[in-house]
Symmetry: C2
Subunit: 437 residues, 2 copies
């Protein structure tokens, strides 16, 4: 116990001090409320999994980013990288879970990335997924849940962009890009549209073997707007493309029926990186901050469970990047209103006020008003009031000898500057009423 | 992506499926509400710390239980073992935090213990601490916060037992046990009173060098009841014992003034293991389940910050063992009421009901009622109703061709068995009213 240790944090890790922690809690509570309203139920899985559960699910790059180590029993384990693969593990492990299984999970995930502005090694994800149905209503519900969460947070100007792997492949084939390697390179180029613009992407496509300027132009033209052709019924993948288009149309019809038509739009240029997406893909842009990237992403991953030796089960989900969204709300001056301190501080003036003051404190708390006593009852009133102000309390409640004698407390509104003498028994109700108002 | 992996959990780690996760959430929400009412603010710290931050704080045994590993950059790191040492690190790192600093933290902690019934390697702690004041009001507030949390959970029959290190040492000295090694062994024996009984403890004390049956009997007699003598003013530690007794008396007076006199009692036999406690110590017993051990423990640890090269700062806190408490509530049939599924399932009968049905679903959700559509609109009504029942929904809301034509929905109360036809626009309000009622 004698060593002196420098108090410090690992890079890419963060403390959230009370004001920030309170804002994060308020934000998560709003998201959870939206997810629960949309019929999602909570699930919780461990932070640590056997390494083989996670390996190979995120590509070679992802494997390298795992926090992987041997535990004290020599087992090869890793901290979870996201909440989707643990969900797949749960579905494969508890085969008799009733389906469709609709779950949300709020959880910390770890990635050994190079820390940078807005990129952390420990961060929070907030996922909603539906496993066990290929119904387009499930895709639509993921979009509706995120839309409800964002609107609940006061964000109105956003767009959930909806793409589809098979439809995109159909567009490529119809435009004459049929070589699989060329298709992959084309998707990679298209993924840069937001960053470098359409003209630069066309230049890239012009240089690609198996594509060229002409086919590249046809691809870009076809990707504009909602009415992208699904391919002309010929060649490999045309049936998949047509089925994909029908699914996408049904998703968008459901989204419109649920009143989210204004915040969702088809955008086939979305080509999400992760290998496991097999159908629709989602990205969510804040219209006033397009540069920060997607704040809620996901899609269909009908094949993920097969990795656990289970027959394919259709699944779709969406994940809110809590840290990115919170940073964005900060930039937009739309941070959730949250106060980390008490609403009322009881100032007990000397031993005379102690008993009545503490009884009053307990009654105020029981009325649902966050309250504390100023720490030192022997301190002068001025010092106790300073404590109340420093804690950001709206009310100071004074209980001294005079108040005890008259059975009252002096309630000072620190915002308004007014003060009134209120009968002790009526103080809790008074404060509860004001706190709500 | 081709390897077949057996889906499985590490021993000592748990999945919480929806019903259990919902109960845990409800319980944590109640505890957090109590802590916030008592003027505690949220703090969040990382799961991973530099190993030297945690090492040496929990004794040699604790060091061995750390999940410690090298990260990808070769840094010596460990998963947090509790939430108290990270708090001490925060206080030492951000020296200008206003004091007293009152924080709560709900967080996962990891200990590589041998898994057993009720003992896990990953579990949740829920702590409330006050740093920066030695006021007995702070000790009392920790007790009041836990009492409010337990009462909020419907637990009435519990006792927070309050001991004090220095007072106990004074009792030992007054009884004639003055040799430090003999004092330590005596405390160790006393700690077993709950398990083996007073007579067996006296036998142990009789055998101890520096104690013996006579002094042992005086110790046990002195520990009975609240009126334990603080020592007779002579010898080492008598002043500390007297100061400790004054502090303990003031804590109990404040606890009584806050209306918690019935659930708190002095019990000097509490001798908590962790090295860092320096004054009051708390343990909380459920009177109907004394065998499960303490569900909320803590105490004063005025010396902890000195390990980070910071002058001693007084601190006191209490920690609720969420898993143990939840298991106990289960045994007592007092689990928090929580439902993991939707309150209403909208059954859309064919394409005719699709648009109106989804619009109604959105309106029901907007009214704050958790709702989902039955997954397959083309399924027969019977199958959709079965889905509603399986999901534990209280209401099934039917929207088919006839309902669309009449602008109504058929709302079936699955508990009561009644069904009524309600105008579409009035359904959300109807359900919200019933869900609250």
């Amino acid at each position: 116990m004698e060593t002196r240790v420098e108090p410090r944090l690992l890079k890419g890790f963060r403390d959230f001090l009370p004001e920030e922690a309170a804002r994060r809690s308020a934000m998560l509570a709003t998201i959870v409320r939206a997810f629960e309203s949309c019929g999602f139920s909570p699930l919780s899985t461990p932070a640590i999994e056997y390494a083989d559960i996670l390996l190979g699910k995120y590509g070679d790059e992802g494997d390298k980013l795992l926090y992987r180590f041997q535990d004290n029993g020599g087992r090869d384990v890793a901290l979870r990288y996201d909440l989707t693969v643990p969900l797949a593990r749960v579905m494969a492990q508890y085969r008799d879970l009733p389906k469709p299984f609709r779950r949300y999970q709020v959880g910390t995930v770890w990635r050994a990335e190079k820390p940078a502005h807005g990129r952390f090694r420990e961060f929070t994800q907030c996922d909603a997924d539906i496993v066990g149905t290929s119904s387009p209503l499930a895709d639509a519900d993921c979009i509706a849940a995120v839309a409800m969460a964002l609107k609940g947070l006061g964000v109105e100007r956003f767009k959930v962009r909806v793409g589809h792997r098979a439809v995109l492949n159909g567009v490529l084939a119809a435009a004459g890009v049929t070589d699989p390697a060329a298709q992959v390179e084309t998707l990679r180029a298209i993924d840069k549209i937001d960053k470098i613009g359409e003209a630069a992407v066309l230049d890239l496509l012009s240089e690609l073997p198996g594509v060229g300027r002409e086919a590249g132009g046809r691809v870009l033209a076809a990707l504009k707007g909602d009415a992208a052709p699904a391919g002309d019924g010929a060649g490999d993948g045309a049936a998949e493309a047509a089925a994909g288009r029908a699914h996408l149309d049904a998703v968008m019809a459901a989204v419109r029926a649920m009143g989210c038509g204004d915040v969702a739009a088809v955008d086939l240029t979305i080509a999400r990186g992760l290998d496991y997406y097999t159908g629709t893909v989602f990205e969510t842009t804040l219209l006033d901050l397009p540069g920060i990237g997607s704040v809620a992403s996901g899609g269909r991953y009908d094949g993920l469970l097969t990795m656990f030796g289970v027959p394919a089960i259709p699944a779709v989900g969406i994940s809110i990047g809590v840290d990115r969204l919170l940073a964005a709300l900060g930039e937009l001056n739309q941070l959730p209103a949250a106060h980390a301190g008490p609403a009322a501080v009881v100032c007990i003036l000397g031993q005379a006020g102690m008993e009545k003051g503490l009884a009053l404190l307990a009654a105020i708390r029981a009325a649902g008003v966050a309250a504390e006593a100023a720490p030192d009852p022997d301190a002068r009133l001025k010092k106790q009031m300073e404590h109340a102000v420093r804690r950001g309390a709206r009310f100071a409640v004074l209980v001294g000898e005079a108040e005890v004698a008259s059975g009252t407390a002096a309630v000072k509104d620190l915002a308004g500057g007014t003060q009134e003498s209120i009968e002790l028994g009526r103080v809790p109700g008074f404060l509860a009423g004001r706190a709500r108002g």
